[in-house]
């Protein structure tokens, strides 16, 4: 075996109330793709933050090519050839794609002036290698979908020609196509001798791309293994400490229609018509950008529809804004957790209680204990990992934040719940728990509209699948009819066909 | 104890001075050169000559509410006498509090007639406006376009404006094009003047009512090449104003005798404390204030004719 390119030895890191890393060791070989696995909050991002100079370890040492180094800040890590795609978005919406990618290493002419033609042509080339040809490098990042933004993030990391590339959940907001492109590039990089650390909660991806894998649990090192020696089950056992139960499906669908949408038209969708029954889980599938979230936003009254009708429990309603929707018993877990979901500087308890403040209050007044006990119960039920419900939301790991967002609506118990990419960045265990939760909700009679880009998720949960292409409904599949290829067929806008 | 401030009751007539006597001036806009060079310099000079302590309190901004608060707070520290700048009628209550606490209290510059102040020394802003109006009418031979500026909304200034307009009302051929707020800011005064010159190419005269009006007006007139063609009257006589009169940028300055009202104002306080002139056996119980009730220290004008006397 070749000498390690990178060696982390006995790294520890404590945050107030949390021991995020406990003497974790890790080694990375040249030209390997090394997966890092662990539940939400296991310490993966923390470890990578230390490796990229963003955090300093409390204990432990870092060796690069056998030499001890101190990565005092992001710049010094970059200078050592380490480049990272953070789990959190790190782009600036108001700047162009090109400028986001080359912030640290703009091509310059004499005097430090930016060589814009060169900048754009380099960006164009880089985007081409990422299979994106339709994008103008001058486009502002804020006008891109979150998938595209994720690709820009990756391009940004690649632009530095790193020796060590860290990808922290790069595919959370991606669909199969983009993921495939990403893997092709990673393989090419490996060929050229780059080492990659790859973090993902989609375990199948690990078998597709990684050479070795390391597992963390509760901040503790669980071992490093060649991927070839492992199975999904064995990885899960290492991550969770036990086996996951197989989940079985039974439809809970009832007769009565809770939500009925008729000829809804909006900015990016036309003539959407469907019905949603109590206890039903209806999936809205489609390629990214098909307009699924737009439909949800219209139903919630965030961007009210231009035309069409919404009926709730047999009555026609007009929904002008989210409070209206909530009054009619509709809840919404948005797709972009950080931007639209969390209140980062507020506590976990506050984040969960937000939708049900009035019902928790007595005569308009709220005591902490009135909030704390139901929240505490919910946190336990959802198994949200936190030292206390008074922890700031921003300090929770991504997956736990996602669970808290779901919890926010569970407190209110709406009759219709729209969940948009509900398991983005959630670990396998938690994912199973969320599925369980959604099914339990359905069993109670809640109607669920599921928007998801993960086809296995769609197939595992839904009673019925609607497929959206470019803003129009192109297909409806019952649970029995739905397969990945069938959904993809409609989602790519091909005409109806008989199987 | 409040009686400490009321020493003047027990003190014998005479000039025996306690070096711990402290006379406090409470003003506002404390850094205004006009205040620093005339009021404050005079007050300090007086204190040194009399062998007593002098203190000057006030904020750098023109902040009447803050002046009120300082007066109220300083009462508790038992000064020997208070010399208060009459910035605004609403300081009356604070003055009354000082008087009630037995502290000799004199108002200077502008009067606060609603208050129970012991004495007032100063000038009448209405007169300042009148003097400017008369000068303008004379210099323009009774006809032409006029604009004026100052701090719009301030009682002193508005009184001055009124004086100006009352005089000009007698001259039907004089057209007043407007009243402008320069906020005591040179840049603003200059900008307003420049705009006025362009909007009214036949503008004949400008009148300014705060310290910074004159220099700002003169700047824009100079830059427009109209020095001497537009008549300028304004207030105050800082070195800058004097220089402009000498150069012909300003035709007439109306000055207040600030040295007089500060000096004698302080002296009034001293005389009250020391019972310099006793009217009765016990003035206090007789309800007599043994200094003049109100003194008008008067105004004067500076033009190219007498400017030499003011220059160093």
């Amino acid at each position: 075996m070749a000498a390690a390119r990178l060696l982390l030895s006995a790294i520890s890191k404590v945050f107030p109330g949390v021991k995020a890393l406990d003497a974790v060791s890790f080694d990375l070989l040249p030209a390997e793709i090394h997966a890092l696995c662990g539940e939400n909050g296991a310490g993966k991002s923390t470890l990578m933050n230390i490796l990229s100079g963003n955090l300093q370890p409390d204990e432990g040492e870092i060796f690069l090519h056998g030499e001890k180094v101190v990565l005092a800040n992001p710049l010094s890590a970059q200078n050592q050839g380490i480049s990272i795609v953070h789990q959190e978005k790190s782009l600036v919406g108001n700047l162009s794609i090109a400028e986001n990618i080359f912030t640290e290493n703009y091509p310059v002419k004499t005097g430090g002036f930016i060589d814009f033609p060169e900048l754009y042509s380099r960006t164009q080339k880089l985007l081409q290698t990422l299979n994106i040809t339709s994008l103008d490098p001058r486009t502002k990042v804020e006008s891109l979908s979150s998938t595209r933004q994720q690709i820009v993030e990756i391009a940004k990391a690649l632009a530095k020609n790193p020796k060590i590339l860290i990808l922290d959940e790069p595919t959370a907001a991606m669909t199969a196509d983009e993921t495939e492109t990403l893997f092709r590039i990673l393989r090419e990089l490996r060929q050229k001798g780059t080492s990659v650390i790859y973090i993902s909660h989609r375990l199948t991806e690990i078998f597709e791309i990684a050479d070795r894998l390391t597992v963390l649990r509760d901040g503790k090192y669980q071992g490093t293994f060649p991927v070839a020696d492992m199975t999904i089950k064995s990885i899960i056992r290492l991550m969770v400490g036990r086996d996951l139960e197989e989940q079985t499906y039974t439809s809970q669908q009832q007769k009565n229609i809770l939500l009925s949408i008729k000829n809804l038209c909006g900015h990016k969708f036309h003539n959407i018509t469907f019905e949603l029954r109590a206890g039903e889980i209806l999936a809205l599938a489609g390629l990214v950008g098909a307009g699924r979230s737009e439909v949800a936003r219209a139903i919630m009254g965030i961007d009210p529809a231009e035309k069409g009708e919404i009926w709730v429990q047999g009555k026609k309603v007009i929904i002008r804004n989210p409070p209206d929707a909530i009054r009619y018993g509709i809840g919404y877990v948005p797709e972009n957790r950080k931007e639209q979901g969390i209140f980062p500087e507020m506590t976990l308890a506050d984040n969960i209680a937000v939708t049900s403040l009035s019902s928790l209050a007595r005569k308009g007044f709220i005591q902490n204990n009135q909030v704390f006990s139901p929240v505490q119960k919910l946190v336990e039920k959802l198994q949200i990992k936190t030292p206390s419900i008074q922890q700031k939301m921003i300090n929770l790991s991504g997956g736990n934040q996602q669970k808290a967002l779901l919890g926010r609506w569970l407190m209110l118990d709406p009759s219709v719940l729209i969940v948009d990419e509900p398991t983005q960045g959630v670990d396998v265990g938690a994912k199973a728990e969320i599925y369980q939760l959604l099914r339990a909700l359905a069993a109670k009679g809640t109607a669920i509209l599921l928007i998801s880009s993960e086809l296995p998720e769609v197939l595992a949960l839904s009673d019925r699948v609607l497929v959206l292409y470019n803003g129009t409904l192109t297909g409806e599949l019952s649970r029995e009819e739905a397969t990945e290829s069938e959904i993809l067929h409609y989602a790519s806008g091909l005409a109806r066909h008989s199987p | 104890d409040p009686s400490k401030g009321a020493k003047f009751q027990e003190k014998q007539t005479g000039t025996q001075v306690d070096p711990n006597e402290e006379y406090v001036m409470v003003t506002t806009a404390v850094n205004m050169p006009m205040y620093v060079n005339h009021d404050q310099a005079t007050f300090k000079r007086w204190g040194e000559q009399m062998g007593v302590k002098t203190s000057i309190l006030g904020t750098s901004e023109w902040d009447v509410q803050q002046q009120i608060q300082i007066i109220e707070q300083v009462i508790g520290t038992h000064p020997t006498g208070l010399l208060i700048n009459g910035t605004d009628p609403s300081i009356a209550r604070a003055i009354d509090k000082a008087v009630e606490a037995g502290i000799p209290t004199v108002v200077y510059d502008s009067d606060i007639p609603q208050s129970n102040r012991h004495a007032f020394l100063g000038t009448d802003w209405y007169e300042i406006g009148k003097l400017q109006g008369e000068a303008l009418a004379r210099l323009l031979n009774g006809k032409g376009k006029i604009a004026y500026m100052g701090i719009v909304g301030m009682t002193n200034m508005e009184n001055g404006f009124r004086g100006l307009l009352d005089v000009l009302a007698n001259y039907p051929d004089i057209e007043v094009v407007g009243k402008y707020n320069d906020e005591a800011n040179v840049e603003k005064a200059a900008k307003i003047t420049a705009d006025l010159i362009n909007a009214h190419p036949d503008l004949a005269a400008l009148a300014g009512f705060d310290s910074n009006s004159g220099p700002g007006i003169a700047l824009s007139i100079r830059e427009a090449g109209k020095t001497g063609k537009i008549v300028v009257t304004t207030v105050d006589w800082e070195p800058e104003h004097l220089k402009l009169v000498k150069e012909g940028g300003i035709n007439l300055l109306v000055g207040q005798k600030r040295e007089l009202f500060v000096w004698y104002g302080a002296q009034f306080l001293f005389d009250m404390v020391h019972q310099t002139n006793r009217i009765s056996g016990n003035d206090k119980s007789a309800g007599i204030t043994n200094v003049p009730f109100a003194v008008n220290t008067g105004l004067f004008t500076i033009t190219s004719e007498n400017i030499a006397n003011f220059l160093p």
Partner: protein, 331 residues
Amino acid sequence: MNTPGIAKLLQERVFTLSLTLVILVGVCSLIWPDTFLTFSNLSTLLLNISTDSVVVIGMMILLISGTFDLSVGSVYALSGGLAAYLAYNYGMFTPVAILVGLGVAVLIGFINGLLITKVGINPLIQTLATLGIVRGIFDLMGKVATLPEGFDALGTSRLMGIQTPFWVMISLVIIFSILVSRHVFFRRYYYIGGNEKAARLSGIPVNRLKVWGFMLSAFLAGVAGILFVSRMGAVPDTLGKGLELKIITAAILGGASLLGGQGKITGAFLGVIFIHLISNILVFARVSGQWTDIIFGIILVLAISLDIFLKKNAEIRLTESLRNIYQQPKP
């Protein structure tokens, strides 16, 4: 050991600011033993802060929700001036005149809120324009130098030796600090300031609440203006000029952030006390006029640095003590 408890406390602006205040008062009462810590000085000080403290409540709520209002000084002036004007010139019954003054204030706040939330004008530009417009109207209005008796009483009557404005202030501060920390309506402002988009999606009527916030802020500015006018028995020309910046500074000293989501009413109140206490000390120290701003600025920077130092230290100690707890072998 109780280190984590104290350390956690030290992270609260309200606590560190109180500490700084207590230290200041302690030192001063040693320097001026006869005059500083007297009923007279303290009650004057409290009376003097009463108007600012009322205004700062509304500003704090706006800052919590991530916005601010530059027009409070003008509204303060117009409300007070108008009520006095109506009572004096038209012999209007005092309570009615006051209601009209307050009504106008609320209307201005409503217009501010509407233009900001519905038309989408930047709050700085909008409230700055309002500042100018309202000040202009105030200046147009005749000033009043004598008030009718009833009006006067509002600001000058005493309870337990202290004038009414103090009692009004203390009641409002207590009521609003309870409301803001405990009432559902006001809790929502923290969410809006914390993440406006998320707040909207969670069903909080963001725009409506913001409009209410501007109305409340204007209302409280109006209350303060009326209190001040009735206390002085006259309407100063420059009433309320420059108030906005002083109030925002006090609120930020008290823990608010221009980014929103942070701050407490008690913090804002302490911020006002802090600013006034320093100028009170400057009066006692007879810092001569020209030095006032310099010394004030230096004390401000030093006090804030101390505050930050206390906090940082607390953080480090907190982390360390937690680390020790973790490193103890678990049973």
